[in-house]
Symmetry: none
Subunit: 190 residues, 4 copies
Amino acid sequence: MKLKDDKKVIQIFQAALKLVAKKGLSGITMGDISREAGIATGTVYVYFKGKDELINALFAACRENSVKVSFKGYQPQMPFKLAFKHIWLNILRYKLQNFEECVFLEQCYHSPFITTETREKALQLSAPFYELMMRGQQEQLIKSTDVGLLLTFIIGTINELVKQTHYGGITLNRSKINTSFDLCWDGLKA
Amino acid sequence: MKLKDDKKVIQIFQAALKLVAKKGLSGITMGDISREAGIATGTVYVYFKGKDELINALFAACRENSVKVSFKGYQPQMPFKLAFKHIWLNILRYKLQNFEECVFLEQCYHSPFITTETREKALQLSAPFYELMMRGQQEQLIKSTDVGLLLTFIIGTINELVKQTHYGGITLNRSKINTSFDLCWDGLKA
Amino acid sequence: MKLKDDKKVIQIFQAALKLVAKKGLSGITMGDISREAGIATGTVYVYFKGKDELINALFAACRENSVKVSFKGYQPQMPFKLAFKHIWLNILRYKLQNFEECVFLEQCYHSPFITTETREKALQLSAPFYELMMRGQQEQLIKSTDVGLLLTFIIGTINELVKQTHYGGITLNRSKINTSFDLCWDGLKA
Amino acid sequence: MKLKDDKKVIQIFQAALKLVAKKGLSGITMGDISREAGIATGTVYVYFKGKDELINALFAACRENSVKVSFKGYQPQMPFKLAFKHIWLNILRYKLQNFEECVFLEQCYHSPFITTETREKALQLSAPFYELMMRGQQEQLIKSTDVGLLLTFIIGTINELVKQTHYGGITLNRSKINTSFDLCWDGLKA
DNA sequence: GATGAATGAGATTTCATTCAT
DNA sequence: TATGAATGAAATCTCATTCAT
C-alpha cells in the first residue's frame, strides 16, 4: 500500500464498507468499489496489490479501530462496574454507529480472503478485554469462570442487539439500552 | 421414466453448506457445488432455476430446520426453567452440530441473494420463541421487558459461544455449557 | 424418421413452424418444440435423429407443399393469362395462409441447418414454374427475357406483399390483390 | 488514457455481418464475433451490454445505412423516371454490394433479438420512399394506387433479384439489370 | 415407444487485473 | 499517478442429446 494519497485509501475503504453492508462480501467487485469511491478501477491497484490485499487491509483497519474506540475514555482507576459499563456502551455505540464495519468483519470471518496471519493479528487485539475481565474477577464482582466464556457472552449479547436494531426487530432507546446492560451484568455478576 | 430425485436436492444442499462453511458464500460456484454433490453442473439447474434460487431455498430450509430442532422434545407442561433450558440446549446443540448451516445463514443475511420475501418468511418462524418467553414472563420467572430484547440476548449469547467454540477460542465441556446457561439465566431471571 | 405415429410428426412440425414464426430460427430449442408439441423431449428423437434432421425434413415438407398447392386446379388448356393468374393467386393464398411456413423457409435459407442436398432438391421443385413461364413466352404474351429473371420478379412481388400484409403495413382486400396482380402482369407482359 | 475506439464498433459489426451471412443468425456466438473481429470476448462487452444490444445496434445501423445510400446523388429536380431509376439502381447496387447487411436484416426480422422499439424506428426510415412514390403519382407517371403496395412491389422485386443473383440462380449483367428495371417500371407506370 | 431427468460441451457474461495513454 | 479500455480466465447458464425407467 503506497502512501501517495491517504484520502483515496479512505475513499476506497468507505466505498467497500458501504457496498459490503448493502450487498455482502460475495456481491462486490473491484469495479463496484472504484465506482462507489469515485475513482478509476486502475487507480485502486495503485493503492492495493489486489482485491485480497484490499480486503485484508480493511479488515485490519476495522479491527484496530473497534478496539481503539472501545477503550476510549477508560480510566483504570474508575470503579469496575462503572468502567465496564463505560466500555460496554463504547462497544455498543461503536457497533451501532459503524454497523457497516461490523457487517464487514463478520462477513470476512468465513471468507477465503482473510489470511491466517490477518486473523491472528486480530486475535491479539483482544488482550485488553481479557485484562479487563480478569480485573473484575479479582475484585470478586463477576463470576470466576473462564474469561473467554465471559467475553463471548458479552460480545454475543451486544452483537445480536446491534443486528436486531439495524434490522428493525428492535427500536433502541436509553431505557432498552440500560435493560440490555442489566441483562448482561446480571448474568456476569458474582 | 426417471423421476425427479429428492435425494439430489439434499445432496446439493449439503454440498453447498459444506463449501460455504469452508470457503464462504463469496467463494462458491455452481461448478463447485455440483462437483461436491457428485452430479453434473447442468443437473443443478434441473432442480433450481439459478444460483439465487438455490441459495434462497437452502436458506429457507436451514431456517425451518433450526426452529423445528429447537422445539424437539418440548412439552408445554414442563416447568418453565426446565423447558427453557431444554430448548436452550437444543439450540446450542443444533448450532454446534450444524455449524455449517449457521455460518450459511449468517453469511446470507447481508448477501444480495436473499430476497425480502425469503427474509420475511424466516422472521415469521420466530413466533414460537416469542410465545415461550411470554410464558416465562407470565409466570414471573424472567424479567418483564421487551421480549425481542430478551430473545436477542439469548440468541446472541449462544451464537457467539458456538462461534468461539468452532474457532478454537473455547473448548466446550459439560461444565462450561452449564456456566454459559447460568450466565444467560441469571441475566434473564426476574 | 420412423413411421410409428404420423400425428406426432405433424405435431412436431407445427410446433416448430409456430415457434420459428414467433421467435426465429435462432430462438428455438428442442425443448421449446417438444413442449409446444405437447410431447416429451426424448420423444422428438424417436422421430428425428436430431435437430438438423428435423429442420431439413420440415424444410423439404414445406417446399413440397408450397409447390403442390401452387398448381392446384391448374389446367394446361386454360388460356395463359387465366392460368397464370390462377397460379399467382394460389401462391399468394398459400403464403398468406401458411405464413409460418414461408418465414421458416426464408429463415432456413441462410442457416447452417439446411444441407446442400436439401437445397438442391428444393431447387428442382421449381421446374413447373419455369415451364409455365416458357409457355407464356411461346404464346408471346410475356417478355422474352431470362425466365429466371421473370420468376424472380414474380416471387419477389408476392413475397414482399405477404410480408407487408402480415406486419400490418398493408391491409389486403380483393381490390388490392387485383392491383398487385396488375402491377406484376403489366411488368411481365410483352 | 485509452479511449473507446469507434473503429472497434465497426470491426465488431463487420465481423457479425460476415458471420451471419455465412452461418445465419442462429449460428453465431459472441466468441465467434470477437474472434473474427480480432479482439477479446470481454471487449465486446465494453461496447455492447450483451448480444441483444449488439444485434439491435447493428440492425439499426444497417437500416440507416441502406436508406442513406439509396438516396445518394438524388436531386429532386431530376425528371421523375430518371430519379426513380437512379434510386432503384442505388438500392440494387447497395443490396448487391452489401449482401451481408441484407441477409442480416432479413434474418433479424423474425428473431427474438429485435425489440419493437428498434423495429418501429426502422419503419420510420421508410418515409422518403413514400414521398418519392407520391411525387410520381402527382406527376401521373405511375399508377395511383396504395403507395405501400407500390413500394412493396418494388422492394420485393429487387430483393428477390439480389437473392437469386447471390445464390447463382441468375448471373446479372447490365442488360439483365435493365430488363429487371423495365419489368418493374412497366408494372408501375400509369 | 414415451418420458423427462441427467449430462456436459459450449454459449453468454462477469470481473480481477493489466496496460496504453 | 490516474484513467478506463482491453483482456481472458472463470463463472453462470443453456441446450442438444442420451439414458434409465
